[in-house]
Symmetry: D2
Subunit: 219 residues, 4 copies
């Protein structure tokens, strides 16, 4: 799986723990946000929430791992956008259930609250259950069908309730869009599909969003 | 405070626990969703999420208490709509921090996972901290300003990324809108402002949404 | 490993969950306590705590899994006796750490508090970490030596602070000793070593305790 | 209430948090263990467990608050001695239940595992519930009687299974007894009753233990 890790400023020091806990699983990991606390430029959860949603919408990754001090801020920020299904994941059991029932594309971790000694181990145990082969299989098994139905419906609802992502990219306030899009490495990560010419027709959703990002940065 | 409690089907049996834990706090409580498991008609978290957001958007209450088996489904459903700031609240400490940092208008409870013996007591301890006089005061105190700024920004983002709620009401699929709006008592609850004539001008947001709800039900 | 599962009355209905979660691990499991709530005769945590310690002292098993509503009662009851090192284990991380740091011979589970939906899954995740090949390896690794030293010292302290187990067997009040020793299957389980004649000299600790149990039952 | 706080070395830096969370409750607090990480002399949980039990046995305090990295080590160490009823307390609900059901005289806190941001607040919420006027009232209420019976029985069992505390004081290994009894301030705290002459007859349990402590230190 292609996984983006996106840390905001208050928990940027946990970035290394997350990367380490993801190792050895055969995933392609993109470390898109802050790497260390106190670094400039900073990203708040408002920015990482936007980036999480954008990266997913552009199809750059299959899954985003974000978070903040309590996990509530990033969760709310990411879910302001269309196409995000985000779990608030604190324990291996949360991960086990979220993978089976919600099968979302994003999680928000509590990276300061409750983040003590051995919390890095807990991340590992969480990822053990999260990236399971049972994603979307339902729990309990007999609820598999209605749960799959709910997932499809919520995806549909999210598309209906939100503006198109390209419109969002162009209408977000500067203080949300610019620190996110100008964050070191983001532009290259988002737009390398264009350079590589492997993005299909110019009317596909990646190309439309890529152009919207470019336009926003250069206006 | 005016508080709506909205339970979906899988955890409808927890409804009585929630009501009891809210007692004696001087709040005006509206019990809008399911009251007992197995009752017809059923509401899924897709429906209660929509109702939570709608009730808030119409200004009928100040706060919504929802949830589902794990809390993740209702959270994702409610946050598909504009104007919802929802916490996933499992412990008194979660509530204490959410009240101070996020100061949202909605919480999602885990009402099956981890919901064992004395979970009703835990609800009481959660509400003790949630409905604190310190809402929005920030934690730690010195982060009060940037946290308030983030709250305002996320509210603004939510308004920008979503269609207007009246458009949402008219464009949601039938299987989302109708079971919710036709749920016993909902129509009366949502539209009593119109009957009572205490809703100000016909162009205010309550009246616009009230008309959208009526139109949707009668089309 | 040889594992005894010992349930008291308030959480006897969890017995089946525990057995199921232990399956497929290659352990020899002895189901020594209550199997179902409401069955007569009942065992309280006072009785299961005594049985846990006695079974360990007689060398019948390597590990005991007990618990009660919150886990605190069984823990306190079992630890009243010599030779018990018991963890209060609620999450997979608790199990991971307890196996490495404390490497005890007993755990106490919370089997009503927090025991909701999917708690059976949580048991499985807990056992995944508990019966690890890393038992006693220390955490963090560099603390391996002092942690092993502490384990040896606490074992030594427990032997010094307690009377001999045979004296304990003979001096416990009837309401503690008798419901435990007379519980269906216990006598046979404890004393089959004598019948089988595979217990070494009559002065070994098993034989001494077996005689003490017999004496207690027949006085 | 008279409360002793006793921290061991791995979590000594939490000592200030515990003291602060105890403030304003009208308790008399004795800070008997380590105050800061890295200070010499160090106390391990083996020593703080012994001190906790001894201080309770001598009647110097009504309650002991201890802990260690996970809470399991101190718990096991303290419970090796007679007369200790210790809870492993992680959440306000744990405290609420422990106060009502077990009504013990000691708690063990997890002071590194899970001890992140706002854990000091969690301590406050825990103490809010722990030092409740409802101690020993039972939960649920209708189980009040059997729970009180179990408490009395476990107290009786602890007295039967252990040697007398004065014998324990004289027979513990040097590496357990001496670092504990020689810890700065301990001798004075334990024996001030003798100096003050307010200890009643020389055969009461305080005097017997005080003499045992003195003898151990001077042999």
């Amino acid at each position: 799986m292609r996984i983006a890790v996106i840390n905001e400023t208050s928990a940027a020091d946990r970035n290394a723990d997350i990367l380490l806990a993801l190792e050895g699983r055969g995933h392609e990991v993109f470390n898109c946000g802050m790497k260390k606390g106190g670094e400039a430029p900073e990203l708040s959860y408002i920015h990482t929430g936007f980036l999480a949603a954008l990266i997913l919408a552009m199809g750059k990754v299959d899954f985003v791992i974000g978070g903040c001090g309590t996990g509530q801020g990033f969760l709310n920020a990411a879910m302001a956008y269309p196409g995000v299904s985000c779990g608030h994941i604190l324990t291996p059991l949360d991960a086990w259930l979220f993978a089976r029932i919600n099968d979302g594309n994003c999680i928000s971790l509590a990276l300061n609250q409750g983040y003590g000694w051995a919390a890095d181990v807990n991340l590992r145990l969480i990822f053990d259950e999260l990236f399971s082969s049972e994603r979307g299989s339902g729990y309990p098994k007999k609820r598999s069908e209605p749960q799959a139905f709910s997932r499809r419906l919520i995806t549909q609802v999210s598309a209906i309730t939100h503006h198109s992502f390209q419109d969002i990219v162009s209408s977000l306030p500067d203080e949300v869009a610019l620190p996110a899009l100008r964050y070191p490495g983001i532009f290259e990560f988002l737009l390398d599909g264009i350079k590589n010419g492997n993005t299909g027709s110019s009317s596909d959703s990646y190309s439309i969003l890529a152009r919207a990002v470019e336009a926003r940065l250069h206006r």
